[in-house]
Structures are given as C-alpha cells and as structure tokens.
Amino acid sequence: MAKTIKMKRRNLFSWILLTPSLLFMGIFLILPFLLLLVLSFRDVDGMMTMLPTYSLAQYKEVFTSDIYLRTISSTLWVALLTTAICLVMAYPAAYLLVRSPSKGVRTLFYILLVSPLLTSVVIRTFAWIVILAQNGLVNEVLLKLHIISQPLSLLWNMNAVIIAYVQVMLPFAVLPIATSLGEITPNLRQASMSLGAGRLRTFLKVTLPLTIPGMISGSVIVFSLAAGSYITPLLVGGRLQPLLPLSIYQQVMQISNLPLGAAMSLTLLVFVAIVVAVLGWILKRWEGRMNG
C-alpha cells in the first residue's frame, strides 16, 4: 500500500517536471499545427477573403497544378541531392575528425566544424553572394586569369542553392557520422585485416556498414532542413526558384491566400515525414539486426 503511494508520488513528480516543456510544446507546436490543419481546409473567394465553408479545394489545387507539382518534385530533388552531396563530403571530414592521432588536432577540427554554426544562416549565405556574384570572387579570379571573357552567372539558380545548402548543412552530417565512426571498435578493422582484407575492402565491408546509423541520422537532419529552408534559397536562388518554402511565403505574404499556404505547408510536412519515417524504419531494422 505504502509502495503504491510512493510510486504515485514519484509519477506525479515526473509530470510536474514535464509540465513546462509540455505546455511550451502544446502552445507553440501542437496548437499552431492544428490551426494550420483547420486553415488548410478553408475556402476563399476571388479576393482571398476567407469563407466560412470547408473543402478540399486547396489540396486539389496543390495536387493538380503543374507548377505546384513541379515545385514539390524539385524541392524533394534538391533536398535529396543536398543530402547525397553532404554525405559524400561529410565522410572524409568525419574520418579525419575521429582518426586524427592527437587530441589537440581533433579539438581544432571540431572547432572548425562547429564554428560556422555560431554565425547566422543569413550571414553565411550572404558570403556565397560575395563569392558567386557577377563581380564576385570566383568571376574576378577567372577573368583575371583570362579563363573566361564574360562573367559567368553563378548566382540565382538551383546550383547556387545546392552549394549554399551543402555548406550550411555539412556539420549536421559530419557529427553523426563521426559519432558512428568513433563507436567502431578498432579491433574490428584489425580482425578484418588479419582475415586478409586490404584497407579498401575493410572500409567497404566493415567500416561503411557500421556507420549506416550515423549516415541515416545525418540524412534525416540534412534532408528535413534542405526541404524546409526559406532564407538560403531566397538569398542565393532568388524568389522565383521552384521550391515549396518560397511558394508558401509567396502565397501567405504576397497573395495573402492563407489556406493555400497552409495546404502547401502540410503537403511539405507530409512528404518530409514520409522520407524521415522510411529512413527511421531502415535505421531501426539495421540496429535491430546488430543489437537485437
């Protein structure tokens, strides 16, 4: 009897501790999400005034308009490409981070890796404008070297968006991969080599498979960020790029079609959620196989 009272008390205590964060999440995440959901079913008239009726009209528009379908697919494609490039570029960096022999060098690498996160995304993206603009660093150098006679237009296209994305999101891919790499027992590589596998084969058959969890975690972060970013594509790609966050901004702030903006937001959310769920499922399967 006394025990159950004690348990109940302990339970109550945990709930008390959880309350502030639950309240915060409820008010600033769950509630807005529900409002958004309701909003996305509202009808509007020609003047974008909201009507008291509800229908699937907004979703119908999103999924039947060629422009929006193209926007959705290019948003997902850019996010996928960014994720792939980030993974490829993050792997060697993570390797260096984990394998560098001295602790001082390792700390230095960590600082170098994380320090960009200390400045705002806007500033980091502006740097790309300085580098890629008509009279920017790259064009000036190529012109001075007489490799080109006309400045290249490197800015205001999807390539610029991807370049900036990769730079901004690379640390989010490096850190989980480095964690995964660090968890591999060095003996496993030795065992592989003692069985006759060279360095490349050891990497492909042992190291790479064992860092799948890190790669998946990194992919989840990079993909969701890349699919949902607004400022970076706006600054280096321009507001006309076919990317969902830009279209949503346009609907809400310029056209004032709030229900359509809400429907697009939820569409984006669902697509990202599907990708994250699939990756999560793969991760769970893999870890289950290794650790039961």
Binding site: T185, N187, L188, Q190, A191, S192, M193, S194, L195, G196, A197, G198, R201, K205, V206, P209, L210, W286, R289, M290, N291, G292
Partner: protein, 368 residues
C-alpha cells in the same frame, strides 16, 4: 604451419621503449605463450608479429619468409582478440566466411569450410544467429572458428579468454588446447594469467620490462626461474638474500650453509639455510634463494633430524578450498608464506599459533 622467428626486435613509443632487442623462435606446431604483467610489451610483440605495428628495429619471419614490411592482410595469420571482434552486422556464418570470400573460394567450398569450422567449435547449429544473440563463450568460439577457417600459417591469440568467467575459462582452455593439437597449428598466446600459460603451453616466453626474461617449458619456468622477476611473477615465493656462512659449522654432506640476515631466530641469530651443493653455487658468496610456499611443511613439534627449520608464529590464514595459505613471522623477524593442501589440518590454524616450518635443501632454488 610455420615457425615464427623474431630477430632483434625493438619497439619505441616516443621516449618509451616497449621492447628491447627481443630474440625468439616459436617452433612449428607448438603452443607458445607470451606471459607477463600488463605493460611488459607482450601485446606489442604480438601486434608486431601480426603486422599491426612495425618494429623500430629487427625483423620478423613467418615460415622462413621475412614479413617485417608486409601489411597484416598479406601475412596469412589467424587472430583472436580479447573482445572477440566479431563483425556485429554479419551473421555467424558470414563472420566465418569473411576470410574465405576474400580468398575467392567457390561458394560450395566456402559453405563446406564454414560448416567444418563451426563444427570444430561445436556451433554448427548457430550459423544463422547474429553475434549479439550468442553468449561470451560462444562468441569467442566463433572468433576461433573464423580465424581457423582460413587455414592460416599461424594462430595469434590476444588474451582470448580473459573476458570469460572462471569456470567457462577453464573449459575453453581445454577446448582451445585440444583444438590446437588436432589442427597442429603454430600458436602464440598472449596472456597475463600465469596459470593459463602453464596449463596450455608447450613453451612459455616471459616478458618483463620489454625484455625476454626466460624461455622454457612450463615446468622449467616454474621450477627453475631464471631470475627474481620470473620467480615473483609465476606463483608465490619466499625470497632469501643470503651470504655464505663462515666455514666451521656442522653441515650435512653435499650441502652448503648460508645465513640470511632478514630472517632471525628468537636469539636474534640470522636464520641458517642449508642448500643442496649444486654447481651453480660454487664460489658464490651471496645468493638469492627462492622457496615455493608449497614446499614448506609445518608441524607442531620441532623435528630433531631436519635441517632448515624455523619457528613460525602464524599471522594470517586464508582458506582457498583446495589449499590453505598461511603467513607467519619468525621470532626475530622475517615473513614466511606457506601453502598446504586442504586436509592437512583438521582445525584451521589461528593467528598467534606457533608452528615449526621446515623444508628440504633441494627446495632452496638459487636465482642467478
């Protein structure tokens, strides 16, 4: 099957010398143990044989072929690690097949060899399991099967049993030894467990401070340790620093009398040690003698016929099941450790009790 030759191998880590000019020959087909306390360089030496470390100087030959500059994957070795090092993402079958796939054997041959290897460690039923589904002992058996499946020239074992509990370790020792005998593979075991080295090995190399202290059969290193380091590392010992007694005293024929100052009788006289007159003692003025605790006998009465006898006041008794360890001091100072087989006493001795300890002249082993 091959012998291993270590020639003048040294290894430095920065300013530290882990190995100093070690010369060693592991014979074909023998079970050889590298024994020593932690930090003695035994693992360094094993890693040099495996190729995970390069020696600073010296060379390594496996089967007469110089391999000093070869990477591990070209040395044709089988290795078993303390933490088993099974690939967690591969099944038991795939783990054992790993080295065979690299050797590009035909599929049917791989299947056959994996099944044979698993059968040799009695795990044929477990092929489909993942490593995390196995117990520690089973994991280590898979590691052994994996190392042997590639039919390597030598088998290297890095403290393979020290993660197992005592009972399982004993079982695995027996199994490992019989497996090694049936395969006939040259085997090097690294261990800090002297009992394990004594039970398993044909020969033992004892490493201390980066140097090879002694090389010999288990019986040789236990009964005739080469020096104080070996004597103290393998088993327990009583050590006597002794000087030759001035001649004139009565000494039985064929023996030499020594005096040890740290051990004193009730009369404050130094304890006299009567040692067998073996050639090593000839012309030696001061000698360090070793006396194994199990060679000392205790009795309640003074025995008039015996040489080497001392009164002993018991200070500590510990009962270990199959034996009894008794520590005591001589009346004038000096501690003596005695080990007696279990049923020697119907009632356990108690601290404060007085016994007479005695031992034969042949049991005083000089450490030269």
């Amino acid at each position: 099957m091959s012998n291993i030759t270590i020639r003048q191998v040294s290894r430095q880590f920065g300013a530290n010398t882990a190995l100093k000019q070690v010369d060693l020959e592991v014979r074909e087909g023998e079970f050889f143990s590298l024994l020593g306390p932690s930090g003695c360089g035994k693992t360094t030496l094993l890693n040099i044989i495996a190729g995970f470390l390069e020696p600073s100087t010296g060379e390594v030959l496996i089967g007469g072929r110089e391999v000093t500059d070869l990477p591990p994957y070209k040395r044709d070795i089988g290795m078993v690690f303390q933490n088993y090092a099974l690939f967690p993402h591969l099944s038991v079958f795939e783990n054992v097949a790993y080295g065979l796939k690299i050797r590009k054997l035909p599929k049917a041959e791989i299947r056959k060899r994996v099944e044979e290897s698993l059968a040799s460690v009695r795990l044929e039923e477990f092929a489909k399991r993942m490593p995390h589904q196995l117990s520690g002992g089973q994991q280590q058996r898979v590691a052994i099967a994996r190392a042997l499946a590639i039919q390597p020239r030598v088998l290297l074992l890095d403290e393979p049993l020290s993660n197992l509990d005592a009972k399982l370790r004993k079982e695995m020792q027996t199994e490992l030894r019989s497996l090694q005998q049936s395969v006939g593979i040259t085997t090097v075991l690294v261990t800090h467990d002297q009992e394990e080295a004594l039970t398993l090995s044909d020969r033992i190399g004892i490493l201390g401070n980066g140097e090879l202290q002694q090389l010999g059969s288990p019986m040789e290193v236990y009964r005739r340790p080469a020096n104080r380091f070996v004597a103290e590392f393998i088993g327990q010992v009583n050590l006597f620093e002794a000087r030759k007694a001035p001649s004139g005293g009565e000494v039985p024929a064929g023996t030499i009398s020594y005096l040890t100052d740290k051990y004193r009788l009730s009369s404050e006289q130094p304890l006299a040690l009567i040692a067998a007159g073996i050639p090593e003692l000839e012309g030696k003025e001061s000698v360090l003698f070793m006396l194994r605790p199990e060679r000392v006998q205790l009795s309640l009465e003074r025995n008039l016929q015996e040489t080497n006898q001392a009164e002993l006041c018991v200070t500590d008794v510990s009962y270990a099941g199959n034996s009894l360890r008794i520590a005591g001091t001589l009346p004038g100072g000096g501690e003596l450790i005695v080990q007696a087989p279990d049923p020697s006493f119907s009632v356990l001795p108690e601290p404060g009790q007085i016994f007479y300890a005695r031992w034969a002249p042949e049991d005083l082993i000089p450490l030269v």
